[in-house]
């Protein structure tokens, strides 16, 4: 066992920490700050800030320098995730592009796609959406019905995507489209990179249970997609999609632990404030969450080790997803166990604003649905890790 980072990695931490300290206004760390802005303003601020971070060389940590990345190690990426949380850095606006699309383009994109996509994404000049889910295709992604028909040098796309994160801010959307008419399931699909700023594409917001509209619907009505904007081979969209989704693996447990552990500490602070810290049942419930949180941290170190050793994580990432998402949800259920009726009040006292807490509590319901629901993850663990029959 050696849980330390290398000297180079620690040097990187120092540089990043200094930059973050100098470039994040103090008020951004205040609990209600981001909620006090309207959605568009918040998005604009985050978009600009992130671009300045890229200019300073603190984006694409693990990406090769030829793509504008930093060429760093997996350890540096873990440090980056941790320090971003520590510094109360704003949430990235281009998550889906950065996590999924960019590494896929680096792996199988054409030289033109690499040049056109990665730089502008890092600078937040182009915001990317993920167009996978449809009304009839959620967990069962192979049921997609959106179709594309060849017309000269273009495909003409018709259909609908749903639950599209950032639909109202997106410039482009990587989309699974059925390009072979009459094909079924995994066959005849293609991954298309569709310009959302055209008459054939319409995005409409959907209001979430929290009241916010982070996701929406995207309608394609004779939308045009040049053939050169297909990622991977035509008809091989399923393979491209699976490659793309595999980049969620190794997603930073270190950063997630840091974030959730801070939330735990914030809940403890409220527990004390409301005189509930000597309630034995509340103590047990919250301590149970700490057990799971600490396990998430150890698991993150285990995963980082696997990545550094060059091992393929395979279906193990389903365990990571289950551990973090179920723990996060439990933590925010414990919030209510700990505070009792006060937990549901925005202002239980004039000087106490619990709205940011409630926002997390509501958001926690979504994490066991997106990115492969908990049920789907359990199927994967049972069938592919444990070898139980289908």
């Amino acid at each position: 066992m050696d849980l330390s980072y290398t000297a180079d990695e620690e040097q990187f931490r120092t540089e990043l920490r200094d930059w973050l300290a100098a470039n994040i206004p103090v008020e951004w760390a205040e609990a209600g700050f981001w909620r006090s802005l309207d959605d568009a303003e918040s998005f604009r601020l985050r978009r600009e800030w992130e671009a300045s971070k890229t200019a300073a060389g603190f984006s694409g940590i693990q990406w090769p320098t030829e793509y504008g990345g930093r060429g760093g190690t997996p350890g540096m990426k873990a440090i980056y995730d941790e320090e971003m949380v520590r510094a109360h850095a704003p949430q990235t606006v281009n998550t889906l592009g950065l996590t999924f699309l960019a590494p896929t383009v680096m792996a199988i994109g054409t030289p033109e796609q690499k040049a056109e996509i990665i730089g502008p994404m890092l600078r937040n000049e182009v915001i990317w959406c993920q167009g996978f889910s449809e009304p009839g295709a959620g967990s069962d992604l192979a049921a997609v019905a959106t179709r594309g028909v060849r017309d000269g040098d273009d495909y003409v796309v018709n259909g609908q995507k749903i639950w599209t994160t950032n639909a109202m801010h997106g410039d482009k959307i990587f989309t699974i489209v059925r390009t072979e008419q009459g094909s079924e399931r995994h066959k005849g699909l293609s991954m298309m990179l569709i310009d959302m700023n055209q008459p054939g594409v319409e995005a409409r917001p959907l209001k979430q249970m929290s009241g916010a509209s982070e996701f929406g619907e995207v309608f394609f009505t004779d939308a045009r997609v040049p053939v050169k904007d297909c990622l991977g081979e035509i008809g091989q969209g399923w393979r491209t999609a699976m490659l793309l989704l595999s980049f969620e693996r190794g997603a930073s447990g270190v950063g997630q632990y840091t974030e959730f552990r801070r939330q735990y500490d914030e809940i403890v602070e409220q527990m004390r404030r409301f005189g509930r810290s000597d309630d034995p049942v509340a103590r047990q419930k919250l301590a149970h969450c700490l057990v799971e949180l600490e396990c998430l941290r150890y698991h993150a170190m285990h995963i980082l080790t696997q990545v550094e050793q060059g091992r393929d994580l395979g279906s193990e990432s389903s365990m990571t997803k289950l551990q973090w998402s179920e723990t996060f949800q439990d933590l925010w259920e414990a919030f209510d166990d700990v505070l009792g009726p006060e937990a549901s009040l925005e202002r239980p006292r004039p000087d106490v604003d619990l709205a940011p807490f409630q926002a997390q509590a509501m958001w926690s319901r979504s994490v066991t649905i997106w990115g492969g629901s908990s049920q789907v993850q359990r199927n994967i663990v049972a069938e592919r890790v444990l070898g139980l029959p289908r």
């Binding site: 066992m1 050696d2 849980l3 330390s4 980072y5 350890g75 873990a78 735990y264 500490d265 403890v268 527990m271 004390r272 810290s277 034995p280 103590r283 047990q284 919250l286 301590a287 149970h288 700490l290 057990v291 799971e292 600490e294 396990c295 998430l296 150890y298 698991h299 170190m301 285990h302 980082l304 080790t305 550094e308 365990m319 289950l322 551990q323 049920q375 993850q377 359990r378 199927n379 663990v381 049972a382 069938e383 890790v385 444990l386 070898g387 139980l388 029959p389 289908r390």
Partner: protein, 369 residues
Amino acid sequence: MFFALTDEQQAFAETVRDFVADRFDLDAVRAVVEDPDGDGHPLTLWKGLADQGALAVLVPEEHDGLGLGLLDAQVIARELGRAVAPGPWTTSVLAAEALRLAGSPAQQAAWLPGLAAGETVGTVALRGEAGSWDGRGITVDASGERLSGTASPVDYPAVAGLFVVAATDAEGAPGLYLVEAGAQGLAIRDQRTYDGTARVGAVELADTPAELLTGGTLSGGDAVAALMARGAVLTAADLVGGAREALTRTIDYDRDRKQFGVPVGSFQAIKHTMADLHVGVTMAEHAVLFAAHALDTDDPGADIAVAVAKAKAAEAAWNATGAMIQFFGGIGFTWEHEAHFFYKRARRRAPLFGSADEHRERLAVLTMD
């Protein structure tokens, strides 16, 4: 970052696993379970473990030990748990740890070589009936170097040659004392446990001559706490080993067992339970590794790590061994089947060195108060 066992540690684990599988299979375990009047201490196993260095693992090299850490020791504990192996390994290793941490050079020289070689069996007696495991549960009193009171439950007292007893002195200060088998006023009362892979008794002391462990790195309450922490981690490792084996056996069975014309393992109710158990046991494995490493390196977070490991391991072991009975169906509830070895061992060991509830309360103290 290297959060894993080294190749040598993995090889060590395999050696112990192969040895136990070869020399002490479930039939041999059954023989011990079905002979409750026997001492539960098969010498073939014990001598073999001694030959492997399994008893010398934590003993310093100058006392004929291997001088390794808790990370190496948990490897052995896990394999013994996996094999539901009987015998006083955990408790004897802990007695040696008490000497290493709190004993004087002379005390260490007197006892450690014998414990490392397996010639002496040691055991620890750290709390009394209904007492907690945090040092407040000590029920033996020391008057100078004479002890009175009852410690219970104690693992393998009948075969022990050396007892490490926690006692409080006239000022109320806790400390660790050595008592030799056969000492005046020492009586052992067999308590019988449903876990046939262990033998347990109460250790009754009446003005029994003892020797305070003193002159080592730790003393008093610190020594007691350090020993408790090590006991918690080694017990957690045993629980995790048993949990993993119970889960593996259940999955193997449910892959083949057919009902309604299909393998029962194809039913989603079983799949999802197995998936959750697998995640839980895996997390417990990580937690034990981390806690052992934290103690080995005096990590400032060791208190939290130990509590997390023991709480998580106890829960994972209850769940996985209970599920073993459930998902074997009727056969799993029979005496002939091995499920009850795993289940009873987990159930008995879960509260040792602090139950999951006690360790969660410890976490509450560390982070909420």
